[in-house]
Symmetry: C2
């Protein structure tokens, strides 16, 4: 293994990522200091990724960096929070060498600029197991205004950003479960799996508009189910209105696309009177928003998928789980 | 493996730990909300622990829980921060079953009460590798008042809390490297390794008194070296003044005790004029404080250990590292 010791790894690869954030104290103290702007409160999320489970061991290091950071940014976006800072706890396996770390840190650095976030701390340890990355990300929202899963009301419309199901097909292409793709489709789908696009501008733009929001990590049906569960409502989604990329339309079955995970699009509810506000928030964020269904009263807290004629479609899987 | 799925693990074992903290939103949202009290700012630290590296696989689950939380609480204490909340990202190996998780969560729950901290979020994933726990802990300090490593001045005295070197002997006893201990000594030393005592009252009590502080995780010499490095000073420690437990005195060589890691005591500097304040802070926190040396001017940033007659002692190891 050609990797320097812990302190040198931090000095060489991670400390430069902390320079933009004064409270990181150059990673030379036991902890970082984070001052939350007046009138705002902190939103905190944490996601762990394990090599071979959440990404593939031979994925490019910069893509792994982007994914680790972006799944957390997506959680912040779903709460309406603006990115602020993050910590990284990395358990490095034997195969992680200095060159890998260099490419990984470069990937983090590019995303820090793109999403306006800085590294403020963390830990670097060795593991005999697979590479394991735990990021804790911090954002801020106006006090008391964070978007929640629990506010959906009967009559609300259901919206989703971007396109659905690309990532699950990208993963299938990488594992060999999806064959015969043309090269262009493969690149699109694999790219969507490896480098999700957190909706970091849209999320904060939905504060005061959306009644409930979640990011799609377990699959559209499962995640809408989470909203129904805590909002104590039911939902009906019209399958034909779910936005699909050309590549997904060509290569996936609708059941698979609606239940596949890892899209990291925002799924949210808003009253019909807010349709124009939703459209405007999407335009400002530069992302397509699709209206796909409706929230209904009902104690079953279920999600129904219907076709154009209103007939129920059976979605076999209750959602994708990494566990 | 008799372990329920991710959502059930969270519902059964972790959500109850989040009930005391309203901003945790019962772990049913994508992130937590953390409101920092007026006039204070957040201190953030993150530590990762890998089974077989930072604790032993057959350590009692409640002790593993305590250690994972306490090493983070110790980092907060070294910055002078009062504990507030934490997130837990757990990568669970195959051998972790429901019974193990129950005992682990019970251990966390007891420490939450003892240290006044609440779980606010995290992630639970499966790993083919060893159990890996990443905790990100949050505390608060009056704005701009966090203790740092960088403020030590020539002429300052060097203080340390509790006793030094017990944990490294406890680890040696567990791994079989230290044999022939009597049972009472073994229990004391192993207990100090498995369940460190973060100085959560002392740390905040040193704000306005200490000029620099760190917690001892890499070893007394190495960690004092970290202070010297960023404070740009040198330090002299008189070996005979370093506080040792009876068990350590009987079973360890001074070189080993001064360089062994995992004590999680506070090491700090303060001017001689603050001696009485230091004594009082220790009394309030209920922990013995020992004056062990002095900060000197010098560009080498080294730590010298001397005997009673002022002759230098050679400490072979530059400090313990987990990496």
């Amino acid at each position: 293994m050609t990797r320097p010791g812990e302190f040198e790894v931090i000095r060489r690869h991670f400390a430069p990522l902390a320079q933009s954030f004064p409270g990181a104290l150059n990673l030379t103290d036991d902890a970082a200091v984070l001052d939350v702007p007046e009138g705002r409160e902190l939103v905190v999320t944490s996601d762990a990724l394990v090599s071979g489970v959440h990404f593939l061991a031979d994925d490019p290091p910069a893509d792994i960096a982007a994914k680790a950071l972006r799944v957390n940014l997506s959680d912040l976006a779903s709460m309406g929070a603006q990115p602020l800072a993050y910590t990284l706890a990395a358990a490095l396996s034997d195969v992680i060498d200095d060159e890998w770390l260099r490419a990984f840190a470069e990937g983090l650095g590019r995303d820090q600029v793109e999403f306006g976030i800085g590294l403020i701390g963390g830990d670097t340890v060795a593991t005999p197991g697979p590479l394991t990355l735990s990021i804790c990300a911090f954002g801020s929202v106006p006090k008391g205004r964070a978007l929640r899963r629990s506010g959906a009301n009967p009559g609300d419309l259901v919206f989703v950003s971007g396109t659905i199901g690309d990532a699950t097909l990208g993963l299938a292409a990488l594992t060999g479960d999806l064959k015969g793709l043309d090269e262009a489709d493969r690149n699109v789908l694999v790219g969507r799996y490896r480098r999700p696009t957190p909706r970091s501008v849209l999320g904060p733009g939905l504060i005061g508009i959306a009644t409930a929001a979640i990011d799609i990590s377990d699959g559209l049906v499962a995640d809408l189910g989470h909203i129904c569960e805590v909002s104590e409502v039911e939902a009906v989604v019209e399958a034909s209105r779910v936005p699909l990329s050309a590549a997904a339309r060509k290569n996936g079955a609708i059941e698979q696309l609606l239940s596949g995970g890892d899209d990291y699009e925002l799924l949210f509810c808003a009253p019909a009177s807010a349709r124009e506000d939703v459209r405007r928030a999407g335009a400002i964020a530069g992302v397509e928003i699709s209206e796909i269904g409706r929230i209904c009263a009902g104690s079953e807290r279920t999600v129904s998928i219907i076709d154009k004629k209103g007939r129920p479609l059976e979605i076999g899987d209750a959602g994708f789980t990494h566990f």
